[in-house]
Symmetry: C2
Subunit: 197 residues, 2 copies
């Protein structure tokens, strides 16, 4: 799972100054996004990283590319966590724990992760979307097979709901609300469906 994408023939390696700039941009972006949220000025990122705007846009053609790069590490960690949890004893607990972790991720930096998930599937954004969705699908499938998760429930729906919680509570003052909301959703997850009328 290296950076280069699949079977690109014979890419000459990046020049070192380019690599350095790229890294510095990601680090700076992390800072700036942390301060100003997902709408932060990309100009500001470039300025603080000590490069021109052109350089930023060459490395990251659009906002979500930069967002993705910033979140990449966290997303991979989340996928690894899914892998680990996948072989835990209780499939229900595994799903629960992962969703809690995912909610934390989606809420980080004023809803950075959530914002990325909602954006239309542009370029790189799609990678992460898929990765996380697959992780969720795996855990959910197990919880449905070996645990008590209800059968009528797709990973997509579950993830979307958690993303929703992240977005709507991004600026909430009540620090415990996100957790309460997720708990409610989980409460419905581990039940057989009600059939009203």
């Amino acid at each position: 799972m290296t950076t280069t994408h699949g079977h690109v023939p014979a890419r000459r390696p990046r020049r070192t100054d380019a690599r350095l700039n790229r890294e510095r941009l990601i680090a700076t972006a992390q800072e700036v996004f942390a301060e100003a949220g997902p709408e932060a000025s990309l100009n500001e990122v470039a300025r603080r990283a000590g490069v021109g705007p052109g350089t930023l846009y060459r490395h990251f053609p659009n906002r979500s590319a930069l967002l993705t790069a910033v979140l990449r590490g966290r997303i991979e960690t989340l996928c690894e966590l899914a892998e680990t949890l996948s072989s835990s004893e209780s499939a229900d607990d595994a799903l629960t724990q992962w969703l809690r972790a995912f909610l934390v991720h989606a809420r980080v930096n004023q809803g950075l992760g959530g914002a990325l998930m909602v954006e239309e599937p542009v370029a790189l954004g799609l990678d992460c979307h898929r990765l996380l969705l697959d992780a969720a699908a795996d855990l959910l499938a197990q919880a449905q097979r070996r645990g008590t998760a209800r059968a009528d429930l797709t990973a997509d729906d579950l993830v979307q709901l958690v993303v929703g919680i992240a977005l709507s509570t991004a600026r909430s003052h009540d620090a415990e609300q996100p957790d309460r909301l997720l708990t409610l959703v989980l409460d419905a997850t581990y039940r057989t469906p009600l059939q009203n009328e």
Copy 2:
């Protein structure tokens, strides 16, 4: 519940041209927001309404003021609906129906209503926020007293959850997803809490 706010001594009535412009701005904004979503250009609104940007900003000091004005009618309708439902036979059904209507509202025009609810409580935005929250609180209280809604659940949480659904599905291609998600939430609403561990 007129437009003027409380006990302002002796406001001279607005000049007719001002009132006309205000109305035209709201109507135009409705169109423009419908086309371009809640991020639409306010300049564009002013241009199409045939007024200068200055005029727009005098009537509506910021985006959410304009948003609020546009949604005001819909919000009042929603409050009236709450009033009506409030005296219906089944408190549970009343709450369910209202939340469904609220979700529709929050999703209208690419998440206009939801966007307004999440914005920091600036000026007028707060009015609507309160109005809707009160309506929800009333219906929820009834459903808890006379219906089967669980006791550990606040109107704020419930509303926040629905707003979350609206936001995360604002650009969804699956037209039925919002409904599915709300159904899941309602499913948890009408149960006694699970207590795991």
